[in-house]
Subunit: 143 residues, 6 copies
């Protein structure tokens, strides 16, 4: 059965996945907390207007990152690199929070972003700069 | 003859098309009003520097949305979906204002955005969130 | 319940939607027939390897074009314009076949493509050239 | 007044601009000749279906590359680099032919493509490979 | 020191990396063998024209996929997903060959492509179809 | 030898290239000064986390704009047009500052942006509006 939107972590940041994110050790900075709040507020607006098509899309979007043949950590890095080469700052922040929660190390992050920068080119540099800023906050350096 | 920029609705939000937009019933919120003002201010700068190429492009850009074999309402939805899959927030807001003015309903908007999300993928989600926020304002819920 | 892939028109071109397409009056040319056969052959390969995530995505992709608040004809034009600005020839052909089946006229197509060209720029021109070639075949001029 | 399509070099490869291209010294190879013929054939189909919007766009597209404050040679290189980072093989070939005609040297081409590769990333590599192949043909090495 | 192009696996498919690819167990099919030959032929043309900028880019492009904090297998999947969402068939084939060589399983591939399809949308479907076709050949089903 | 990041103008805005930019005659406005400071602050964060791959990429990115067969002025315009069609505001500002420093005139800028708008379509308009705003500031009109 289709998960209803209310039970979907994409719509409910107070659900399992996002809740963990907001409690993740280093998430002390203000910028990412504001990002999460804004995301929650806007998802409630989506819930107000979205019909079956958009709700099912949100459901798939939550499902494909669940651990399976590939661990969740690898999947979040795949989502991150895809978001960097397509240059979506909000998507990058979302996957960085999940990568941090999945115990991706700074060295692993650097190598993943080096691939993203090489594939996507210098046009990704401003996004990668902001990605390292968010990572620095996640790592507890902006408490 | 080429419409001069001064007579072009793209350059003059006080012209027929944009004027209607700023008077559209639900356009009471602050965010979209600021968006319109900023757009007007920047278009004046474009007028200051733009030569014949850019001015003619603006002219075409106004022309292709005029009603013809397809009604203006359909054309604005085409412009909206194109803007969503190319992920341009300013373009999305511009077409949302025009869609609202053309009496697109919330149900129609939801279905158009469901197609955009499906074609363009989850990378469009942050833009669609902001689209529904603007739509909510247009619908009079932020007066 | 989730439609299984076997019952999904996206996977089975011999299903309702695609079948109609291959019988559409003007579809006499060789190029589009080959395109349909190749698409069927490759979708069978997708079925061989695809898990739940990809199958559910195919299911949504079929659903969002079903008539609802917006008629199927408008939805196919939305899919077409999205495909042109994202510059995917296969997607363009797929939606052109469906547009033809939904009785989109040549004048309507011209206006939809004019919007796509304006939004997406001259980089879309090679794709629009090939779109008109496919349309000419659909219109019975290459039988 | 709007140039009619018949007088527009984009539609008529037998017009001034394209004609020069087909006579350009090194253009002896088969691949680029076929490219030009196919482009002419398809543009005739565009002429058959295109209304005022598409025709005016073609007209602008021809105009912006005319020499002005910037020489035609620089403009063709701008068009080439834009086409590489947006990854459109047909557009790349078109501008390579014009670059060759404008006496762009191989060293200049290499530097322009190095910028395109850096901005656009490794995803441009397959297109740059094919660009050098076309350039090699233009340079007379495939006569 | 900068690796010279001659010693760079990106330029020399007879080098370590590519050689392994052409000997990879399942690589019996004709399509991927032709792809490799064409790639080698065109890289030789790049070598003929490329200056220091392009050669250094090729060098980085080889380096970032070397095993480090992340294993080569994960890195190739990152390159694959980035290539799918940016919709480059040649890049997809290249990384599929390397994924196969790194012992990525069909189940892992399916999950990686489900993420790519979700992030990139239905516009990636034609590329994912062709990806599964290449994978089927790599898996020895077209020998 | 690989230039170390500390000696790289991309990382050190107090280095030759960026320093000149901050002293460029018209650069009196507040917006671009803030842009430069933010860029410096974030590049320091990149230096903190970046490994060899990202550092080498930054190095290439600085190198390809050095004068060679093409003058620096042409190269900055190539970088600008590539940034416009890929729609990256930060990249556009960066190249506008360098174009201003290389004595690109307003007429030349207008023609380069007309090409970018034509190739990239109306989706580039919001970025071109902001480009002219930055140019107006660079030209001393916002001192």
């Amino acid at each position: 059965m289709e998960p209803v939107v209310k039970a979907n972590p994409r719509f409910k940041p107070e659900g399992k996945r996002a809740a963990t994110s907001t409690k993740t050790p280093g998430l002390k900075g203000r910028q990412l907390a504001r990002f999460q709040q804004e995301r929650t507020r806007l998802n409630e607006l989506v819930t107000k207007y979205a019909g079956r098509g958009i709700k099912r899309f949100y459901s798939i979007d939550a499902q494909v990152y669940q651990p399976g043949a590939l661990p969740a950590k690898t999947k979040e890095m795949l989502g991150l690199v895809a978001s960097v080469v397509l240059r979506c700052d909000d998507c990058i922040k979302y996957h960085l929070i999940n990568c941090h929660q999945q115990r991706v190390t700074s060295a692993e992050l650097d190598e993943a972003l080096a691939i993203a920068m090489t594939v996507g080119g210098s046009i990704t540099i401003p996004h990668i700069r902001r990605a390292f800023e968010a990572w620095d906050e996640l790592s507890g350096n902006r408490g």
